[in-house]
């Protein structure tokens, strides 16, 4: 989730409102982690948690969620809707790879080769998400991804290579609101 918000926005002038919003998001994130990891609800521990989360958020609000604005809530919601689809794809493709691995004539079935394609994605975060999604989907590993959106992918066999870039690229582009 934090890779979702990790937008590069160093060039723009940050207003006080934007700074407060990124402080707030960092604080919520830190405090949720505190509650999950501590699991105790004494006033003392909660108070210490609020204090240390606020301290960390005050120092590092421009590091983790820099340049996050209200507008990007839509990106977050779409990213959460994209996750279940990605998990389904991973499971389907994993069963395919499992079939290949246990097949007696595996060496005839696999056909490793490198494919190149242009995705047309522009922002760094969209390219990173797509590269990670390709690597997570079995049968394909991202070798290089340039900032212009050119990908080199190592694919283990024909069917997993043919599924690229295809639907996955469209989904990622939709999440970050990019036109292809």
């Amino acid at each position: 989730m934090n890779e979702n918000r990790d937008e590069k926005n160093t060039g723009t002038v940050t207003t006080a409102g934007a700074t407060f919003f990124s402080f707030f998001v960092t604080f919520i994130f830190m405090f949720a982690t505190w509650i999950i990891l501590s699991g105790k609800f004494d006033p003392l521990l909660l108070g210490l948690g609020i204090f240390s989360s606020a301290l960390v958020a005050w120092f590092f609000h421009d590091l983790l969620f820099a340049g996050v604005s209200m507008k990007q809530t839509g990106v977050f919601v779409r990213f959460c809707r994209y996750m279940p689809w990605l998990v389904m794809e991973i499971i389907k493709a994993n069963f395919h790879l499992l079939y290949l691995v246990f097949h007696p004539r595996m060496l005839q079935l696999i056909n490793p080769h490198i494919i190149q394609f242009q995705t047309g994605l522009k922002s760094d975060i969209a390219i990173t998400t797509l590269a990670n999604a390709i690597t997570l989907t079995p049968g394909t590993v991202t070798i290089t991804a340039t900032s212009e959106g050119r990908f080199r992918v190592h694919a283990i066999d024909r069917p997993s290579a043919e599924s690229l870039p295809g639907a996955m690229r469209d989904r990622v582009a939709h999440v970050y609101g990019e036109k292809i």
Partner: protein, 111 residues
């Protein structure tokens, strides 16, 4: 009800074991460096997902705030593996490419 939960937990644990076994067998059977990374990097990821899901289901036998928090902690492990595993796989592939290792292809085998 308890039997159903046990069956679901056992199902997910066995599924995770099968994926881990597939990953190990795949590392041995695949022909070259790059194709070995496919089972190594990804069958393990789904294996850990399935096993943690099984443990979470078993853990939620007695539903309370404590077991719920413990389950969320377990899923945090899966979350970090899902972030770290593709990155590590990518950097290993990139290192192989930079060192100039040629990928194994189907044609070479026929010669």
């Amino acid at each position: 009800m308890h039997i159903l939960i046990n069956i679901a937990a056992i199902f997910f644990l066995v599924m995770g074991l099968v994926f881990f076994l597939g990953g190990a067998v795949g590392i041995i059977r695949m022909p070259d460096f790059y194709s070995r990374l496919h089972p190594a990097g990804k069958l393990d990821t789904l294996g850990i997902f399935a096993m943690v899901t099984g443990l979470v289901i078993y853990n939620l036998h007695h539903f309370s705030l404590e077991t719920l928090l413990l389950s969320i902690k377990m899923f945090l492990i899966v979350f970090f593996v899902f972030l770290a595993s593709p990155t590590a796989t990518h950097s290993i592939v990139d290192a192989g490419m930079r060192a100039g290792l040629r990928p194994w292809t189907q044609k070479k085998k026929k010669e």
